[in-house]
Subunit: 315 residues, 2 copies
Amino acid sequence: MSILVVGSVALDTVETPFARKEEALGGAASYFSTAASLYNQVNLVAVVGSDFPREYLDFWRSRPINLAGLQIREGRTFRWVARYHMDMNTRDTLDTQLGVYAGFHPVLPDEHRSCPLLFLANIQPELQMEVLEQMPRTCLTVLDTMELWIKTTRPQLTEVIKRVDVLLMSEEEVRQYTNQPSILGGVRHLLGLGPEFVVVKLGSYGALLFGADGTYFSAPAHPLEEVIDPTGAGDAFAGGMLGYLSTLESEPDGRYSIDDLKRAVVHGNILGSFVCEDFSIERLRTLTMDDIAARYQALVACSHFDPHWLPMRIR
Amino acid sequence: MSILVVGSVALDTVETPFARKEEALGGAASYFSTAASLYNQVNLVAVVGSDFPREYLDFWRSRPINLAGLQIREGRTFRWVARYHMDMNTRDTLDTQLGVYAGFHPVLPDEHRSCPLLFLANIQPELQMEVLEQMPRTCLTVLDTMELWIKTTRPQLTEVIKRVDVLLMSEEEVRQYTNQPSILGGVRHLLGLGPEFVVVKLGSYGALLFGADGTYFSAPAHPLEEVIDPTGAGDAFAGGMLGYLSTLESEPDGRYSIDDLKRAVVHGNILGSFVCEDFSIERLRTLTMDDIAARYQALVACSHFDPHWLPMRIR
């Protein structure tokens, strides 16, 4: 099954305490597409300017990434400049230049409108809604967002949340949006709005999957020797998650099983961890399905323990 | 097998954004003993003042807790006053009154010196060393510490680390002590000092177990609806860990298997989570082995996933 993604494509300049990378391929849709294309065909809907490097287009064309929905407009590509601090978990955005992204409205080619899997990356909720209105039926819609939309366009974000199957949020975003002291309380509030699943991304601590049916799953993180650049980890997470789901046949009613979703979250952690190992999408260029399978086995090995323990007197 | 613990017993006044508790039973050794006594006999070595409430002594005597090593000195019991912030992960210490603890030196009754399992709670490294010198042989020695000793008595702490089998540290303590950007690098440094295992406590994210043999295990946390008071969670963690190990027969060479240690860390998370559900040691008063077994099963259910996934073309 193919996957449709709508989101930003950018040129990122990222500085860490250890290195700096100038105007590299960035943006949520770039990370997502590159990650998900390891599993299946991706249809990319986004906008870039006339200055967008041809090498990135060529790279995507070398992958199963359909660019029919990629608008190339006269003007400058979206640029983002950020600096990470010593702990690599906090960063400052130093500059944002919207360029052609300022006037972006997603237009889906007809061939994309029946795509079964949809990822709404963290663009403005109004644009996410425009996409939903162009796609009457999907098999699964997954939504990401960011602090900016929680703060500035909360009502519109809420309308989108009500219409999706899976909502991705970081722990901080859950607290910001729900204002609940516990994550459990916050997630209950979010599930009450409509999504069947909420995935809480915990960065270097892994991710949590919550289902409206009471499902709770804690997926382990892969520990990294060195984090080169955590930019795009959440987008690559979504790419791994939807990429994995695209390899399955869904249930007859179009739904996935809980075990499918658990494996999908594990794949999310795997792709999220790989992307941190280099700047931009660099690590994903050489990544193979064998690397993914090896890390999957490493996560099984590090998180499973004896399921049969009982107190002595009960045994 | 019985367990020896040396550490602080205190009267804690704790304020959270939601409630306040005055002069309740606190101190690392109190939390540890109460937790571990659910599994086996605990020998408590500590000091209290002549004002120490009799009801707490009576409570301990109602449990398999041997008080032969508890010194009762003329004067005031150690008092600690703290306030938690809204996220319950950060706190300010408002007051510390050492009282009789100021002149404390642990003196082990002869009957305790052959105790197979030893927990050195987070007291001064000099006192921890005095304990080690009174116990020529143990089966397993577990060490806890705190930021204060990393900052003020680092050389003495290092000498103790070199002599123990298992080191417990929070993620922040690993960074403070080792000054390494990655936890993996920090843990490698710590294992290089001598311990066979390092356990990194991640609070609400669970705990990580690292072995000198390359073992890596990520233990899930139990998600709590409401955290009433996180004080003592790390000490109860140690109590669950050593409590569980005390129920096993160790290998002929006095060592535990990796699977034993994994289960022990899971028990640590279980006891650590229960203690947060009320102030002081209150939740541990009513806790039963059935409660522990039920939470063990909940942790299995929320962390295990399909171990057999392979990419399609390899299958």
